[in-house]
């Protein structure tokens, strides 16, 4: 038995030699040598705005902020086309900037790695980021601290770009912390609200837990491979011990959970909606929360070798996608519904990214079959790469439609005097037609309406899930149904039905500067699916994640698509029956089922944290304080008091009388003489 299993492992390792790509970049030239500018421009913008200060830059800070990001977008686009023009095997480019750390045996370069994976992220960050910058000009027009807001936004974009462009884990870590900082600053941007300040702190603290995983993973990678560079690690990852790779995978998964708000570190995302809506769109929907997915996909050369870590990724993904969806069903705050939806959709991505482990079984099968059924080699293949691509595709589509949704929500809130409770919305379709239309596009995309981008990307994931495991596939399918339910509920409560507005609210369409980005994003939501159509993105990502081959399913893809569509339709119908048909009460009903109450309380995630972590921590710290007060301080103070008391008594000997001292001297002499005599006379 053991012989067989070890042989299998051996075989599996051989099987992977062809599928896990080694990152071997060439030096940048031409347009690609401008890569550093992509990061430098927003960083410069942030530096100028934040150093010069808000009052001095008020007049032009927003223009500078938009200009830097849009310039970065243009360069990204040029670089993308330059990359398109290269051979598929030659699409990995690195640019050495300077030696960052050179301490003994440890060297870390500040170099950029530009490959198809980075390329799509660059376009996403600078593109969506640019649109959100433009949108923010209108959204924050009346905020007197708008200049600072743009400084923070630029800082975030720069950090995020560094995260996806760095060619080693240390560089990623720098960007990782940078986006964490920017996220903290932006969530707490309205820090005069206690809730915002607390939410910012919560996000920061929860993210620290994930950051520990990132830091430890980086250290472990260095300790194991002697380098933190992707190129170096990917070349030798296969030779490392299984336990080490598993540890690495789990540590990076912890990091991804923190940044991407996955269970169990999901609690901060819902509260993070306290930030301005563009922040929610940019950071907590489109870009930063996808950093975890990026990390997992980028570390494919680790995950492909470790089954345990991949299973963990899948479990985290499934749990989160259901968790987020259920929360989304019960919330009345439009932004929190979208936040739950974000969690859920990122869960889908993680799920897809974790499909590696089952690839091992398929790979072994593939190896056995190889000799017998050469012609049937397509029957069983490594699914890992397919999963990565599906996750990325969904991520990409998600970036578009979720940004669109959030901006739409912002537009709605803008129209409704920053009211976020959906129970006070209703019948807005006439009042804000452009927002309604663009929001609808995002809605159709997220529920996976056939033809829209979400349909293509989510479809793939669910297909892959079914291809791996029936339970996971069902969970993903149910998640899709729930998604349809809560998004339909949101649409119905917001745009249809009767007016339930607060008095004195006169909804109006947002200015052009806010609607144009919405329209662009809506268009991308619609057509983004085309990227997946024709497997373009699959081929595009081949050099990064390995050769992708389509897996065999129990039924043809059409059947799955039909099943998914039916489930989605059921979800929509239930929503229509429960929300659309009846009157929506203005105040949330309290006599609701246990499930609803649980979902309203974020499935008791915070309560769980409080019970499991905060209370014991509190008690532990209380104990420590008591120990410190009584034990440590007691010992120290006691020693001091003892000496003080002794001194108070002994100092009485210092009478000031010379004759007393002389007596002491004589006593001493007596002792000396006695000692001398005792020594000499015995």
């Amino acid at each position: 038995m053991s012989v067989t299993s070890s042989a299998l492992i051996l075989l599996s390792e051989e099987a992977h030699e062809g599928t896990v790509p080694v990152i071997d970049p060439t030096a940048a030239d031409g347009v690609l040598s401008l890569l550093w500018l992509i990061i430098a421009l927003p960083a410069l913008g942030a530096a100028v705005i934040l150093v010069a200060g808000g009052t001095r830059t008020r007049a032009w800070a927003h223009l500078l902020g938009c200009a830097t990001v849009l310039a970065s977008f243009v360069i990204s686009l040029l670089a993308f086309f330059a990359l398109l023009g290269r051979d598929a095997d030659d699409r990995s480019v690195s640019q050495f900037l300077y030696t960052w750390v050179d301490a003994g045996g440890f060297t870390a370069d500040m170099s950029l790695l530009y490959d198809p994976l980075s390329a799509v992220f660059l376009l996403l960050i600078t593109g969506v980021g640019g649109l959100i910058h433009v949108y923010s000009v209108g959204y924050m027009a009346h905020d007197e601290r708008r200049a600072r807001f743009f400084g923070y936004l630029n800082l975030f974009v720069a950090a995020m770009l560094l995260l996806v462009l760095a060619d080693n884990y240390l560089g990623v870590f720098l960007g990782w912390e940078g986006v964490g900082l920017a996220s903290y600053l932006l969530i707490g941007f309205w820090q005069h609200k206690p809730s915002a300040a607390v939410a910012a702190k919560k996000a920061f603290v929860v993210n620290r837990v994930g950051d520990i995983g990132m830091a430890l993973g980086t250290m472990l990678a260095f300790a194991t491979f002697g380098t933190t560079a992707f190129a170096g690690i990917s070349a030798v990852a296969g030779e490392a011990e299984q336990a080490t790779l598993t540890a690495l995978g789990l540590l990076f998964l912890l990091a991804a959970c923190g940044k991407s708000a996955q269970v169990p570190l999901q609690s901060w995302l819902l509260d993070a909606m306290e930030g301005p809506t563009p922040v929610s769109a940019l950071i907590h929907a489109a870009t930063m929360v996808t950093a975890g997915v990026y990390l997992v996909v980028r570390s494919n050369f680790i995950y492909d070798y470790t089954e345990v870590a991949q299973t963990a990724v899948v479990i985290v993904g499934v749990v989160t996608l259901l968790w987020g969806a259920i929360i989304g069903c019960a919330k009345d705050d439009i932004k929190k519904v979208l936040a739950g939806s974000t969690m859920s959709q990122i869960g889908y991505m993680m799920l897809a990214a974790g499909f590696g482990p089952f690839g091992y079984a398929f790979a072994i099968f593939h190896l056995l079959a190889h000799g017998f059924f050469k012609a049937n080699m397509f029957l069983a293949v490594g699914l890992g790469p397919a999963g990565y691509v599906a996750g990325l595709a969904h991520l990409y589509a998600h970036g578009f439609f979720k940004a669109g949704l959030f901006l739409g929500a912002g537009s709605v809130m803008h129209a409704m005097n920053d009211q976020v409770d959906m129970r006070h919305y209703g019948a807005l379709q006439k009042a804000v037609p452009v927002t309604f239309l663009t929001f609808s596009m995002g809605y159709l995309a997220i529920i996976g309406f056939p033809g829209f981008s979400g349909f293509w990307s989510k479809d793939r994931i669910i297909e892959a899930a079914f291809g791996e495991n029936l339970v996971i596939g069902l969970a993903a399918l149910v998640g899709a149904g729930i998604t349809a339910f809560y998004m339909t509920r949101l649409m119905l409560m917001t745009f249809f039905g009767k007016k339930r507005w607060e008095e004195g609210v006169h909804p109006h369409e947002s200015p052009k500067i806010m609607t144009v980005p919405l329209i662009v994003l809506a268009a991308l939501s619609v057509f983004g699916g085309l990227l997946v159509l024709g497997d373009w993105i699959v081929d595009w990502l081949d050099p990064v994640v390995g050769v992708t081959q389509h897996h065999e399913l129990a039924f043809s893809p059409i059947v799955y698509s039909l099943i998914i569509t039916v489930v989605v339709a059921v979800g929509v119908a239930i929503a229509w029956l429960t929300v659309g048909k009846s009157e929506v009460p203005r105040v949330a009903p309290t006599n609701v089922s246990f499930v609803t109450r649980a979902a309203r309380a974020d499935l008791y995630g915070d309560a769980l944290n409080e019970e499991l972590l905060m209370r014991p921590g509190d008690r532990f710290v209380t104990g420590l304080i008591a120990f410190d007060d009584r034990g440590v301080d007691g010992a120290v103070d006691g020693t001091g008091a003892a000496f003080a008391g002794m001194s108070a008594r002994f100092r009485r000997l210092q009478t000031g009388y010379v004759r007393s001292y002389a007596l002491s001297v004589l006593g001493g002499s007596l002792l000396v003489v006695v000692a001398l005599l005792a020594v000499n006379l015995t």
């Binding site: 100092r651 009485r652 210092q654 009478t655 000031g656 009388y657 010379v658 004759r659 002389a662 004589l666």
Partner: protein, 99 residues
Amino acid sequence: MDPTPFLALSAILFTIGCIGVLTRRNAIVVFMCVELMLNASNLALVTFSRVHGNLDGQVGAFFVMVVAAAEVVVGLAIIMTIFRTRRSASVDDASLLKY
């Protein structure tokens, strides 16, 4: 001549000097007692000089005398100064340096 009685006398005089230093309060008397102690040690030195048959002990006693003379000069001057400022020659009155 047996040297032991001389040494015993020296020890007794030295002890009396000690007790004098410890019990008398007049600085000048204290000083006299110190002189008594020095003289007692001189007697021991001279006695040992005779016991050993060389003059080194006497030279030592001579040096003790010289140093005692210097000490008396300075010591009495100090006593005069203290008396001039404090109007007292009591060693107990100069007891400010205490707890």
